[in-house]
C-alpha cells in the first residue's frame, strides 16, 4: 500500500476509499476538498470517457461539508463517511433526474429516495452524480443508452461493458472513488471485469431493491464497483440489510465484511466448473484465469474440478425469464402519468395511438426487442413451453450449484469470455452480445453472490476479470478469497491511462 506523505502533491482522486478514509479521519484532507478535486478530474476527462449522465455537484458539496462536520464532531462517522460515490442512473434520488439511459425517462425526476440511497446518505457518502448505463439496464456494453456512449478508460475504442458501464468507467478512470451498479445477468461483474476493477453482485435479497428501477425483478440486485476488495467489503456492508419496503429482501443480520479480509485461504475448497472453460473462450482470458487459479492453489486453497451440467442452458433460460419480467415491469411507461409522451396527429384523440407512439418513440431497439420477446413468451399457448419450462430449468441450474457447494466453498470462473470488445462490434448481433454474459448469468438465475476482480491483462493491454461465486449469503467467504488473491498480486494496481 502506498504511503502518503504530503497531501498537497498527491493525486487524491486516485486513492482507494480506505486510503482516503484515513486522510479524512485524521483531517489531513477534507471531504469537500476531495469532492472538488474529483469534479475537477471529471471535467477534464469525462468528455472522453462519458461516464456521467448527471452531475450533482450542489448536492455533493453540501454532503461533503456535512461529512466534514460529522468527522470534526466525531458524530456518526462510518468507514465511508465523506467518500464520494457515483450512482447508476437507475436508482432514484429524490429531486434528481433519473433517466435509466432511456428517452422514456429522459426528464423523469423521482419524488423519493431508493433505500440504498438512504443508506448511503445515513453513512455520510457524497453523491457525485448519476452514471450512464444501457437503456433500462438491457445490454452488455452501455451502447444501448439513449443519452451517450461510454468508453472504456483502458482503450477508448472499446466498450466499458454493461449495463453498469458508466459506474465501472467512473471508478476505473478515477472519476469516482466508489460506485454502485445493478446486476441482472452480469451488469456489475462484466463491466468491472472489462474496466479492471472489483464488482460484486450480492445474494438476491441481500440489498433492498426499493427505488431501483426494475428490469427483471427476480434477478436484479444492487452491488458495489470499487478499486479494490477492501472498498468492496466496506460498501457492501453499508448498502446491505433487510428493508420492510422490499418483500424479497431477506431479514438476516449484516456481517462485518471487513473482518473476512486479511485471512489466509489455506484448505478452502475452490471448485472449477469445467463447463466454464468452453470452446470460443478467448485464449488470453483462458490462460490468465487458469494462471489465477494456480495462484489460488499456491496460496493454500484446494482446487478441484466440479461440474455444473445445466450451464449450457443458462443463457437461453435467462432470455426467457428476464424479458418476460421486463415486458411487465416496463408496461408502466405508457405516457399517461410521467415520462415521455408522443405528440402529434392521432395521439391527442386516440388512446391506443398515444400508447403505441409513446412506446415506439420512447424505447430503443434493444428494449423493444426484449419487451416483444417477453410478451410473446408469456402469451397464452406459449407460457408453458417457454416461461414455465424456463423456470424449471432455472431450478435445475440452482440445484447444480447446491450440489457443487456441498463439495466446495467457492467456485472460480472467468467473468467474461472475452476482454472488452470494440465499440459497435456487436451492436448488430444481439446473440453475440448476449453471450458476453454467459459466465455471469447462471449466478443471477440461482440468486448467488459473485464477485469479479482483476487477474491480468490481455495481449492488447485490456483487463481480464476473475469471477468468484459463493453460496447464499456467503459474500464474506468470496471477499476473503478475493482479498487473499488481490494481496498476493499487483493486478488491482494496474491503472487505465
Amino acid at each position: 500500500m502506498s504511503t502518503i506523505n504530503r497531501v498537497g502533491d498527491m493525486k487524491l482522486h486516485t486513492l482507494t476509499a480506505h486510503e482516503l478514509a484515513k486522510l479524512l479521519i485524521s483531517r489531513e484532507v477534507s471531504s469537500e476538498e476531495l469532492t472538488r478535486k474529483l469534479y475537477g478530474h471529471i471535467e477534464k476527462t469525462d468528455k472522453n470517457i462519458g461516464s456521467y449522465i448527471t452531475l450533482t455537484k450542489d448536492i455533493a458539496i453540501e454532503q461533503a461539508k456535512e461529512a466534514d462536520k460529522r468527522i470534526k464532531e466525531k458524530r456518526d462517522v462510518g468507514t465511508l463517511t465523506g467518500i464520494p460515490i457515483a450512482i447508476k442512473d437507475n436508482m432514484c434520488i429524490k429531486d434528481v433526474l433519473c433517466t435509466c439511459g432511456s428517452k422514456m425517462l429522459s426528464s423523469f425526476i423521482p419524488p423519493y429516495n431508493a433505500t440504498v440511497i438512504n443508506k448511503l446518505k445515513k453513512n455520510g457518502l457524497v453523491f457525485l452524480g448519476k452514471t450512464n448505463m444501457d437503456e433500462f439496464a438491457m445490454g452488455s456494453s452501455t451502447e444501448t443508452s439513449y443519452l451517450k456512449v461510454t468508453k472504456n478508460p483502458w482503450n477508448i475504442n472499446t466498450i466499458p461493458g454493461g449495463s453498469s458501464g458508466g459506474s465501472a468507467a467512473a471508478v476505473a478512470s478515477d472519476q469516482a472513488v466508489l460506485s454502485i451498479g445493478s446486476d441482472t445477468g452480469g451488469s456489475i461483474r462484466q463491466p468491472a471485469s472489462h474496466c479492471g476493477i472489483v464488482g460484486m453482485k450480492p445474494t438476491y435479497g441481500r440489498v433492498s431493491r426499493y427505488g431501483l428501477v426494475a428490469f427483471a425483478s427476480s434477478l436484479d440486485q444492487i452491488g458495489p464497483l470499487t478499486k479494490d476488495v477492501w472498498d468492496c467489503a466496506a460498501l457492501l456492508e453499508v448498502i446491505s440489510g433487510y428493508d420492510s419496503l422490499d418483500s424479497t429482501s431477506v431479514n438476516m443480520d449484516v456481517p462485518d465484511y471487513i473482518s473476512f479480509l486479511n485471512k489466509d485461504i489455506k484448505n478452502i475448497k475452490i471448485g472449477v466448473p469445467k463447463e466454464y472453460f468452453i470452446e470460443g473462450i478467448d485464449k488470453d482470458v483462458e490462460l490468465t484465469v487458469k494462471g489465477a487459479i494456480e495462484k489460488l492453489g499456491s496460496l493454500g486453497a484446494i482446487i478441484e474440478e466440479v461440474s455444473l451440467p445445466h450451464t449450457e442452458y443458462a443463457v437461453a433460460t435467462y432470455y426467457i425469464i428476464a424479458p418476460a419480467e421486463a415486458s411487465s415491469n416496463l408496461a408502466r411507461y405508457d405516457g399517461v402519468k410521467y415520462g415521455y409522451r408522443a405528440k402529434g396527429e392521432g395521439v391527442d384523440k386516440d388512446l391506443l395511438g398515444m400508447y403505441e407512439n409513446t412506446r415506439k418513440e420512447g424505447f430503443g431497439a434493444e428494449v423493444k426487442r426484449r419487451i416483444m420477446l417477453g410478451t410473446h413468451t408469456l402469451s397464452s399457448g406459449y407460457y408453458d413451453a417457454y416461461y414455465l419450462k424456463a423456470q424449471k430449468v432455472r431450478t435445475l441450474i440452482k440445484q447444480d450449484f447446491d450440489k457443487a457447494f456441498r463439495e466446495c466453498d467457492v467456485l472460480v470462473t472467468p467473468t467474461s469470455p472475452t476482454p472488452a470488445f470494440k465499440i459497435g462490434e456487436k451492436t448488430d448481433d444481439p446473440l453475440q452480445m448476449y453471450l458476453s454474459d454467459i459466465f455471469t448469468i447462471p449466478t443471477n438465475l440461482a440468486g448467488l453472490p459473485g464477485i469479479s476482480l482483476p487477474c491480468g491483462l490481455s495481449k492488447n493491454g485490456l483487463p481480464i476479470g476473475l469471477q468468484l461465486i459463493g453460496n447464499y449469503f456467503e459474500e464474506g467467504r468470496i471477499l476473503q478469497v478475493a482479498h487473499a488473491f488481490e494481496q498476493s498480486t499487483d493486478f488491482h494496481r494496474n491503472k487505465a491511462r
Binding site: N90, M91, C92, C98, C100, L105, F108, P110, P111, Y112, A114, R209, Y210, G211, L212, V213, A214, A216, S217, S218, S244, L245, D246, S247, T248, A324, E325, S327, S328, L330, A331, R332, Y333, D334, V336, K337, Y338, K349, L351, Y355, T375, L378, S379, S380, Y383, Y387
Partner: protein, 477 residues
Amino acid sequence: MNYEPVIGLEVHVQLSTKTKIFCGCSTNFGASPNTQTCPVCLGLPGVLPVLNKEVVQCAIKTALATNCTVVERCIFHRKNYFYPDLPKGYQISQYDIPLGENGWIQIKLDGKEKKIRITRVHMEEDAGKLIHSENPEDSRTRVDLNRACVPLLEIVSEPDINSPEEAYQYLVSLKQILEYLEISDCNMEEGSLRCDANISIRPVGESRLGTKAELKNMNSFKGVQKALEYEIMRQKKLLIEGKKVYQETRLWNTDLNRTESMRSKEEAHDYRYFPEPDLVRINIDKEWVNKTRQSLPELPKVRRDKFKKEYGLSDYDVEVLTMDRKVADYFEECSKHFPNCKMIANWITGDVLAALKDKKNNIDNFNMSPEQLGELLGLIENGTVSGKIAKDVFQDMVCTGQDAKQIVSEKGLVQLSDEGELVLIIDKIIQQNPKPVDDFRSGKQNALGFLVGQIMRETKGKANPQLVNRILKARLS
C-alpha cells in the same frame, strides 16, 4: 321449446381496511383526486408492493364464511393489460391458486332453500378511476388514482343460478354474509360492491352449456336482475330465430334498459398472467385458519336457525331481524332485559325499524339502547302503561333519549287501574249518556265502544282498557 338460464356471478367487494393492499395510503372514499397516493400506488419507477396482512385476514374470513377451503401457500400473479387507470400496466391479483376455493352459500327463494357453489375467493388490487370532462369543449379525461391499490376480494360463483330472482337472492345473501363479517361497507353506490354476470341459456333437459355473454356495468342488485332478464330474452329470441349467440362482453345500459355489445371474444385480452416476482409466498398455517375460524361472528344462517328455535320467532320476524347483523345484536341484547321475545320482535320489526327509516338513521346511532326498549316493554307487561300510551312514550324516547320510567312519571302517564276510582268515572259517564246506555241495553253492541271512548277521554287515555271493559259491562247489566 323451453329454455333455462345458467348464470354465474362475479362479485368484487372493496375491503374496508384502513390502508391499501400494497402501500400505507388511506382507503377512505371521496377524498380529492390523487390526494391518497404515494410512489407505490402511483406505480412510479422503482417501487415495490408490500402486502397488507389485514387483507389476507379479511380474505380468510370470507373464504371460511362461504365454506371454502383455504390454501396453505398463497401467491399473487400479475394480470397484464394497458389502461390509463392502471398505473403499473398490470394488476396484482391471484390466478391459478386463489386464497379460497370450493365453497358454497345458501339462498332462499319462495320458501325453498338452495346451495350455490362458490368457485373461488381471491385478493387483488383495485384500479383508479377515469374522470371524463362534462364540458363538451374539453375532451380531456383525467385520472384519479386514489382508488388504485385499494384491496378487493373477488368472489366467483359456479353457474348454479337459474333465474334472475335467484341471482338477486344470491347477492342479498352474499352481501349479508360480508356485512356480518364487517369487512366491507358493501355500498354499491360508492362502488364498494360490484357485480358482473355470466349468462347462457340452454333447452331444458340439455346438459351442455350454451354460449355465454358476460354482463358488466350493473350498479344495483335490481340492475343485475333486470340485465339478466333482458339478456335471457335477447338470447332466447336469437335461438328461436335460428341465430347464434356469440361469446362477448356486454354492458348494461341503465337508461335504455338493455345490454349492448362491448367486445367480442376475439377482442378479449390475453392477460399474460405470471407469478408476481416482487412478492414472496405467504404461508397460511392451520393455526392461522383455526384462529380466524374461532373469531368469526355468528353467520346469518346460524343466527336464523337460532332465532327460530331458541326464541320461537316466526319466519317473517327471523328474516327481518337477521337481515342486518346489528339489528339482530340489538334484538338479542334487548332480550337480556325483557323476557317476551315475540313482543320484542314486534316492536323492533315495527316501531324501531320505522323510526330508523323515518329518521334515515341506522341502528348504530339509534337514540334508544336495547336496555331502554326492554324497560319500556316491561312497563307495558306489568300494566304501568297501556300499549297505546307506550307508543307515545316510545316516540318521546326516540326524540329525547330519556328512559321510559322518567317520561311516564314526569308526564303522569301511569295507567289508571284502581277499580274504585274507575267505578266512579264509569258511573259518571253512564249518567251523562242515557241514550247510548239504552241503545246498548236494547242490543246495539257498538254503543259500548262509544262509552269506552268517553271513559278513555275522561281519563286522558290512562284507564286500563281491560278493566274499563269489564266494569262497564258489569254496571250496564
